[in-house]
Amino acid sequence: MDREKVLQALREAQAEYNIENLDEFIKQAWEEVDIVDAQIVAELTERAVEILLDQDFLWTHIIESEDCEEWIPDGWYSFIAVHPETGQCLTFAKDPVYSWESRISFSARIRSAEDAVDAVAGLAELIEQNLKSRAVE
C-alpha cells in the first residue's frame, strides 16, 4: 500500500472530522483514556480506508480495554467491514497458524498518527485482498 496515498486519505478524513493535530488527538485519546475520542479515532480510521479505496463499507468497531474491570481503552481497536451490497465480510481471514480457525475482525494498535497509517494500510490491504478474492456468490 502506497504510504503517501494512505497519508493523504488520513489527512482528508482528519479534515472531515475537524481535527487539527491528528497525532496529538490520537495520543490524547489513548493517554486520557477518553472513550468518546477513541470512538472518533476508530471512525476516522474507517473513513480513511473508504477514501483510500474509494468505496463505502458497513462497519463495526470495538475499542479494546486493557483493564477489563475498569473498561479502560488500551489503544487497541478491532474493525469489522462488510460489503454493503453483497454482505461479504471483508475483514475475514484464515488464521495463519491454525488453518481451520478464522477471524472476522482486523485488530490494530492506534496510539499515534504513525500507528494510524499502519492501521489504515493494513485494513485497506486486507479488504482489497478479500474484494479481489472469491466474493460471495
Binding site: 458497513l58 463495526t60 470495538i62 473498561w71 465480510c89 477471524r103 472476522i104
Partner: protein, 147 residues
Amino acid sequence: MQLEQLTYTEEQIKQAIEEVWQELLQEADAENYSLEEYLEDYRKYWDDPCFPNDIPELIMRTVEKIVGRPLSWYCELVRDPAGFTGEYSFVVVDPKTQKCLTYREYTSDGVNVHRFINIAGTVVNYEDIVRLVIKLLDQIQSALAAA
C-alpha cells in the same frame, strides 16, 4: 417473532443451552455450578469481566449446536462511559462463504435503506439468553436460506 415460525423448538434450544453449559464447566474444570447460580452471580457482579465473557460463548455455542456447524463470530460487550451496559452485539459470518449472516437491510418510506451487520440484545436472565439465541437463529436461518 413467534417460535412456531422456526424449525426448532424452545425445548431444543433449552436442551442445547444446558449441554453447552456443561461443556463450558468441563473445560473450566468446574463442577456443581448450575446456570441458575451463575446467572445469580452474573446479576450481582456483571461489571466484573469474568461474568459477561461467558455469555457470548454460551449463546454462540448453542447457536452452532443447533445450526450444526461452526460459525465465525465476534461479540462486543456494549459499553458506555459508565461501563458495561448488559448488551451484547454479535456479528456472525459463514466461514464457508465469508458472508455476514447478521447482515440485515430495511427499507423505510420505500426509499431509505438501513443496513446492519450486528444482532444485539441485553442479557439479565435465562429467558434473555433463550430470546437472543432465537433472534440469532432466526436471522442466520433467513440469511442461509437467501444464500
